[in-house]
Assembly symmetry: C2
Homo-oligomer: 582 residues x 2
């Protein structure tokens, strides 16, 4: 590609609404252009990257035996009504009426349509297993779109759906996809981690998320460096930090803690470790049919240095629809405002759940349900009835790994892929069956597998940038090599050598761009460093006099001189070095 | 590709709603699957074809110097409001509100968004010319979607937009696209014709449509076999069929024509040629501000054997917003119901427009504005004031070509491409300017260029099918070659030879499918004939004993035997023969 036949448009400054580095750099490099809130034009420079990502995804999906198709962007509501997601999906799903007043969905995902294809196309066990995928435009009407392609409303997703005859088959299909995803992210040249995940609203049994590792990532990834344990924060199991409960030694004693509403302050005041304190979190569950009479307050107890895990909390029987209690509810049930709450002497009966660690604590400090007072020396069994025990906290670095093989570490990640074992949740709702060997209809066992294609661009940048701009992995760089001639219009030698190298690289199948715009060297170099092309060759009269060209890798601090005759082989060896064994 | 790793799903019968052959065959061949009215899943077999079409389009667009990008499916209304098309587009354009109540368009086309990109990205004449294109999902809420991919609501379109500094540059860009389209349809292996077209609602000056020739086509294409004149019916110029007007010979005479309301019947009753009669068409134009007082009726006169051309009619000054008159309006203005209308003795004054041919007629027959009566011997100037003259009829086969080089012929076509010279209609509305050499802002000169990617599938089939199924041109067949082994599970020789040929074809870069499903030969052959793969190799024990394989081209009536050792070269020569010189 010659730069004058392409469209390059870089900016010195990022627009004010770009908050994170990937958004800023993509805007500055002219890869995307904002059209509306969370809606972007993919400019030529950006689209090249998207296509490269898509191609890697496509190749690995095909290699894993998945078959590509394409489901529509606009989907009739009736399919979504069958599974109930027409009502459940909420405002994230954009809905539209046609000229006849019929309802449609702008697809946020495609389980329903896929299941409809399967229930009509799959008749016999002989057609199984099968895995369909598509790479398609999705739309989710985010409440607060931001971060460029990281949380845009219109985006490109690869979603795949596997169909099997039984759970064992489904798990095999799931593993195939897990392995394909691993190869995809390897080939994308990204540092990533797969973690066990919660299934969320999509239903089904098991799932894993694939995260690109980046300090700026929104998600906390929990892993054990000494084993293969890895989970996201929502799913990572918190083990009791005390193996067993010590015997009570202290007396229960109400202690004045004026103005000390936080565990940290109480511990400091009483000169005890924060680990000796217990914090109270109050939740409300309403039984809508019974109204006020059906309202129940729950008190969840965590060690003072721990944080509540809201996903785990929602899985406790009875807490599926919890919300945090309001201050007036707390006063009504506890007789005191937040800050001094505890399990002892509540005004009205509450249900108590203690975190696994709290359940093993003895002689602990908790609120006295009276402003400016805490209890010290509190003990289970003696002062408070034995509580319901559950894992309700976020793990922290240094916790023992749940597999017993070391301690946990935490790093930040950006979710770019998710694989789910759906089981029969959709096939049951939509009556998607096949005939088994005995001619008996059986529900299809499903899995679903998503990759956020456009989001990968943002994640790759968050992981790979420096003060000059983006540092693309070679496999998804918009161009692998840029040739920057110095004074091509003045020097016949530069012109000849530039053209020769350009043609040689093209002939060798290298994705090369020749910057024939005639820009000043400084501006030209700055553009390509911002855009992030991994390999740069500078051709100038000075070097040519010695038969040399200048090479600079995007991560190199110093350029090296390479003989003209060796540059092609040199570039090829650089590119080969970038390849990941497939 | 092995058939067992792909998804093949053929039907014996087409669904009842499939009216035309391409729709029926695509459904039966499992290429598309209906999801809703005018909305289809592209199944794996269909998507392969779409991708091949897209790739040919992409390659030729790139070769012509166009740059690929991607504009969003969901576009903020504000851009469409700027050009007024938010109001003008009508119900064909689907509109949607987001969670904040803001208006969006599901794009039916992208002139507005493209012009917005241009006005911010193009700053200087040095950036011109530039041509951006994208291949993207479009949605048009057709009142009556039908014919499968021929008139679906969701479809894939390639749309390109060129930007130039002056009209001469714009015409150069237009010609580049015209030539690229010619190469595209050549490479698609389709018989096609480019015809001059009316610009329609999109605005601007010149345009051409590209049509796939097919007897079932909706459009009439006018062309001159002795020259390069070609236009669609809307745009084809009708020349006067009488070079000059003869002198009046007959007297004007009111003649009883009881019950003869049609020219054909009147001509038969009076025993005169139909070409001696004149038919009346009455139009109404309302000046909305003046109400009833602003209503004007127009009488358009055509020779009895001619038909009105509604597009040409709308271009007559004053007739831009015409409608056909109601019966009550006709009675009010003419004093008689339709059937006996004419230019003489109307009850109220009407504006008269005569077709070019009618204007040169003498001694003609027309209605007398009295039920059951016609005038014979009517003459311009003598009986009726000289009329306004215009080309308002559809041409017919045998008419002289407007270029004077022969006579016109008519064939049917399916529109698959359209190129437009837009000029400054959009850049003016959206203030899209660039700075010229003198630093003065100038309006961008635009062209736009569309290809209906998914529609091409339907059109290709309408042109290429037989009683067994589809006959794809090799360049867009889902597979170029199918290998049908006979009894691969029984015969080691068949298995070995099948695998050898399959691997050899793959290694040679041939897009081959190996039908390893184990179907009966009859069912297997029927499937591939229905699907329309152009080259078939059958491998069986009987042939192998003689060292032969059986080859059948999709259009061949008889198979030929080819030595095993020569089959690869044989297939390659067949495929090379299919190539169009690019």
């Amino acid at each position: 590609m010659r730069a004058t036949r392409f469209f390059i448009s870089t900016l010195k400054e990022a627009p004010a609404d770009a908050e994170i580095v990937s958004h800023k750099l993509m805007m500055r490099a002219g890869m995307i252009k904002r059209l509306g809130s969370g809606i972007y034009n993919y400019m030529p420079m950006g689209l090249r990257i998207i296509r490269k990502v898509e191609n890697i995804v496509r190749e690995e999906m095909n290699r894993a035996g998945a078959v590509e198709m394409l489901m529509p962007v606009i989907q009739p509501a009736e399919y979504w009504q069958e599974t109930g997601r027409w009502d459940k999906f909420g405002p994230l799903m954009m809905r539209v009426k046609d000229r006849h007043g019929r309802d449609y969905v702008i697809q946020p995902t495609s389980e329903e349509v896929m299941t409809d294809v399967a229930r009509t196309e799959i008749r016999s066990y002989r057609q199984l297993p099968v895995n369909f995928y598509h790479i398609q435009t999705k739309f989710r009407d985010e409440r607060r779109p931001r971060f460029g392609l990281m949380r845009s409303r219109e985006f490109t997703m690869k979603d795949a759906y596997s169909f099997d005859r039984d759970p064992a088959g489904m798990q095999q299909s799931y593993q195939l996809m897990y392995d394909a995803y691993t190869r995809i992210f390897q080939r994308l040249g990204l540092q990533f981690r797969a973690v066990a995940a919660d299934n969320g609203d999509i239903g089904g049994s098991g799932s894993h998320e694939f995260h690109v590792i980046a300090e700026t990532g929104e998600d906390a990834l929990v892993y054990c460096p000494s084993s293969d344990y890895a989970a996201n924060m929502e799913a990572a199991e918190g083990v009791p930090l005390l193996a067993e409960r010590a015997a009570a030694k202290a007396e229960l004693s109400k202690t004045a803690t004026p103005g000390k509403a936080k565990c940290e302050d109480v511990a400091a005041l009483l000169n005890i470790p924060l680990q000796q304190t217990v914090k109270s979190i109050v939740l409300t569950v309403e039984d809508e049919e019974k109204g006020e009479a059906g309202k129940q307050l729950w008190l969840l107890l965590l060690r003072g240095d721990h944080e509540l895990n809201e996903v785990k909390t929602g899985k406790i029987p009875g807490l599926a629809n919890y919300r945090f209690a309001s201050e007036s509810e707390i006063i009504e049930w506890f007789g005191t405002p937040p800050g001094y709450l505890g399990p002892i002497n509540t005004k009205k009966p509450v249900r108590i759940v203690a975190d696994r660690t709290v359940a093993n604590m003895a002689d602990f400090v908790c609120g006295a349900n009276e402003a400016d007072f805490h209890f010290t020396g509190a003990n289970w069994g003696r002062d408070i009835p034995e509580p319901q025990v559950a894992d309700i906290r976020n793990v922290v670095a240094g916790d023992p790994s749940p597999d017993g093989k070391g301690v946990l570490a935490i790093q930040r990640g950006i979710e770019v892929g998710h694989v789910f074992q759906l089981g029969t949740s959709y096939s049951q709702a939509m009556k998607a069956t096949f005939l088994d060997e005995n001619g008996k209809p059986q529900l299809l066992q499903m899995g679903c597998y998503g990759i956020g294609v456009t989001r990968i661009l943002g994640a790759a940048i968050e992981q790979n940038f420096d003060d000059k701009g983006i540092v693309w992995p070679a496999s998804i760089a918009p161009f692998e090599v840029v040739i920057c001639p110095m004074g091509m219009d003045r020097s016949e030698a530069v012109k000849t050598e530039t053209e020769a190298l350009y043609q040689a690289l093209l002939a060798a199948g290298v994705d090369v761009i020749l910057d024939d715009r005639g820009e000043r060297p400084g501006a030209m170099f700055a553009d390509w460093e911002l855009i992030g092309v991994p390999h740069r060759v500078v051709i100038g009269d000075r070097g040519l006099k010695e038969g040399k060209l200048e090479y600079l890798g995007r991560r190199d601090s110093e350029a090296s001189n390479v003989p003209v005759t060796e540059m092609l082989a040199f570039i090829q060896s650089k590119l080969a070095g970038n390849q990941v064994a497939g």
